[in-house]
Symmetry: C2
Subunit: 368 residues, 2 copies
C-alpha cells in the first residue's frame, strides 16, 4: 500500500541488484520509516528473530527470500547441500512458533532439491521466494475483493455516509506482503471511493493498533481514529460502529477464532448491539484438526514486562516507561479465542462463509 504517496510492499527485491532484498524495518514504526537491505542468511535470521518483520504472511515471505540468499551463499561454500540444510534449521529457529516460517523454508528445500546445478538452484529459489511473496499478496487482494462487498452494502444502506469499521490489532499489510487480511476490504473500499472510517483499537500490551494500523491507514490516506481497547463497547452502544473486521492467528474448521487478546470482548459487544463481526483470513491459517478452539487452542503467555512497560516516542527516541509499581506482578496472555457463535462470517480468499464446518468445507472441498 502507499507510504507518502509511493506504493510499497513489506518486502521486495532491490530493483538495481537482485542479490539484495529490502524490507521496512518495522521496529521503528510508527516513529521512523526506515528501509533495510538484507544481503545474507544472517541478515534474514536477525530480521525475523528481532522482529524487524512480523506477521504470519510476512515472516513466511521473508523466510522464502532468506532461503534464496542462503542458496547464493551456499554456491560459494564448500558444500551447497550442507550449507542449505543448516540455513534451513537456522531460519526455522528464528521464531519457532511461526507456522508460515516452517512452511516457506520447507517449500524452498523441496524446490531447490528438485534441480541439480547451483545456478538452477539459485534461480529456482529466487522464483519460489517471489512466488511465496506474490501469492501472499494475491490471497490478501482476494480477501479484499470479497470483503469489500460487505462494506459496499452498508455504504448503500447508509446512503453513502461513512461506514464506521472497528478493528483490533494489526491484521494489516504490514503483517503480510501487501493489503493485509482485516484491512484488505477496507483498502479495497477506500480505493473504490467508498467513504470509510476506521476505529483503531490501540491493542495493549504491544500496541500494534496504535503503532502499526494507525500508521498504515494514515499513510494510505484512510480516515481513522485511535481509541483505547476499552472504548469499543461504548462506541457500539452509541451506534458509532457499523462493522467489525479482525484478523486471525488460527481459525478452527468449526469457526472458532484465535486472535490477539481482547478480540473476544469486541465480539461480545458486537453481538450485544447487533453489529456484524467478521474475521478476515487467508485459508492457510485454518486449523483443520482442532474442533473446540476455546478448550483446545493453547494461548501463549508472553513476557509480563510487555504489560508493566509501554514503549513510545519521547525526546527524539523510543523510550520504555513503567506504568505500575515495581513490586506488582503482571500477566501477559497474548491471545484469546472467540467462539464461532459470536462470529458473523469468515472472509477468505475464496469467498465469505458462516463460521461452521459445513460452510467452511463448501469453500474448501478439497480438504474432505
Amino acid at each position: 500500500m502507499n507510504v507518502n504517496g509511493i506504493h510499497y510492499r513489506t518486502i521486495w527485491v532491490k530493483e538495481t541488484d537482485r542479490q539484495v532484498i529490502q524490507i521496512i524495518d518495522q521496529r521503528h514504526l510508527p516513529h521512523r520509516f526506515i528501509l533495510e537491505d538484507l544481503v545474507s542468511l544472517d541478515d534474514v535470521f536477525t530480521a525475523i528473530k528481532d522482529m524487524h518483520v512480523r506477521g504470519a504472511g510476512l515472516i513466511g515471505a521473508t523466510a522464502g527470500y532468506g532461503m534464496y540468499l542462503a542458496a547464493l551463499e551456499a554456491s560459494r561454500s564448500d558444500s551447497f547441500d550442507t550449507f542449505l540444510a543448516e540455513a534451513a534449521e537456522k531460519l526455522k529457529s528464528a521464531r519457532p512458533t511461526a507456522m508460515n516460517l516452517f512452511w516457506a523454508v520447507d517449500k524452498q528445500l523441496e524446490a531447490i532439491s528438485s534441480v541439480a546445478s547451483a545456478d538452477e538452484k539459485i534461480s529456482l529459489a529466487f522464483q519460489t521466494a517471489k512466488k511465496i511473496a506474490d501469492s501472499d499478496a494475491e490471497y490478501c487482494r482476494r480477501i479484499g475483493e470479497q470483503g469489500v462487498k460487505l462494506i459496499e452494502e452498508i455504504s448503500r444502506s447508509k446512503g453513502g455516509k461513512p461506514v464506521n469499521i472497528l478493528t483490533h490489532c494489526n491484521a494489516g499489510w504490514l503483517a503480510f506482503v501487501d493489503f493485509g487480511s482485516a484491512t484488505a476490504p477496507i483498502y479495497a473500499a477506500h480505493d473504490k471511493d467508498i467513504d470509510v472510517h476506521v476505529w483503531v483499537d490501540e491493542t495493549r500490551p504491544r500496541n500494534q493498533g496504535a503503532a502499526l494500523t494507525c500508521w498504515e491507514l494514515g499513510n494510505h490516506g484512510v480516515p481513522h481514529t485511535l481509541i483505547t481497547d476499552n472504548a469499543g463497547g461504548y462506541l457500539m452502544q452509541q451506534g458509532q460502529v457499523d462493522l467489525v473486521i479482525v484478523g486471525s492467528d488460527r481459525t478452527t474448521y468449526t469457526g472458532d477464532v484465535a486472535n490477539k487478546v481482547g478480540t473476544y470482548l469486541k465480539a461480545l459487544a458486537a453481538r450485544d448491539n447487533n453489529i456484524p463481526f467478521y474475521v478476515a483470513l487467508p485459508s492457510s491459517t485454518i486449523d483443520w484438526k482442532t474442533e473446540d478452539g476455546v478448550k483446545e487452542i493453547p494461548i501463549e503467555q508472553r513476557d509480563p514486562d510487555e504489560v508493566a512497560f509501554v514503549d513510545g516516542w519521547c525526546e527524539g527516541e523510543v523510550k520504555k516507561v513503567r506504568i505500575c509499581p515495581e513490586n506488582s506482578p503482571a500477566a501477559n496472555y497474548a491471545f484469546d479465542v472467540t467462539p464461532a457463535r459470536l462470529v458473523t462470517g469468515l472472509i477468505t480468499e475464496r469467498g465469505i462463509c458462516k463460521p461452521n464446518k459445513d460452510e467452511i468445507l463448501k469453500l474448501f472441498p478439497e480438504i474432505t
Copy 2:
C-alpha cells in the same frame, strides 16, 4: 489502609497542628509516596484542581477541609462572610463536574452560617469537615461489610482456595477517605484471612488500575496481578475469575451503571461465562432521576492526548511517551454505561440488592 505497614487515610488532620491538613499527593503514585501539607484555601484549590487528590469521596472530603481552612483565613480577613462566600465559589470551580465537591462546600456553608462568632464558625467547620471525611470512610467500611459476604460464600464453595476477583479502574481507598468502594469487600476479606487474589485491569487511558489499584493492594498486602484491559475475557473463559467487582460514577435508580470506560465489556464477558458481576457504590452516587442510563447519561470526552500518550516511570522520573503516529487522530471516551440487565447486584452501605427500581427503593425507602 496500610502503606509500608502503617495505616493511612487519604486525608487527615496533622496530629501536632490542627491547622494543617495532610494528604497523599497522588500525582506521584505509584512511583513515589509523597505527603503534602495543605495550610490554606489556595493549597486545597490547587490540590483538587491539579488532581493531587481525585475520586468522588476524596474530593468531597478535601473540599470539606478546604472550607475549614478558608474559615481560619476568613477570621483574619476584613469580612468573614465575604471571604467565605468567595472561597466557596473558588473551591466549586476547581473540578466543576464533581458532584461531591458542591455537596461538601454547601454543607459547610450551611453549618458555618448556623453559628454567630468566628470561633464558633471555625470550630463547627472543623467538626463538619471531620464528619464528612469520617462518614465517607464509614460508608465504605459498610460496603465492605456487606460485600465480604459474597466473597466468603465463594471461598467456602471453593473449599478455601483463593477467590479470584477482577476489578477495573480504581474504586479503591485512594478514591475515597478509606477502604474504597469496589475494594472494600476485598480488603474486608483479606483482613478476615480469606484467601483472595485480584486481577487488576490496567484501565487505559489513564491507567488508574496499573498505577493506583496495584499500588494500594500491594501496600496492604493483597495478592494481585496486573493485566491488560484486553485480557479479562480470556481469564473468564478459562475459569480464572470467580467474581467481578467494580465501582460506579453514577448509578440510575433503575440499575444502569456509568463507570470507567471498558466496564461494559467486562460485564458482557462475565455474563457470557456466568460469573457474578457486582457494582459497589455509596448511595450518594445513585441518580434518582435518570431512567435509561445508556441513552441519557452524558459521557465525558477527554483530551485525546491521554490516548496518544502514556505516562510512566523512566530514568528516575515520570515521562510521557507517544504510542501512535503524530498525525493519527485519537478519541477519548472516558466512561461507558453497563445496562442493569448485565449487573448481578449492587453492593451499597445498606446491603446488596438487585439492580432494579423496586429492589433499590426497598433499601432506600425514604426516597419515595
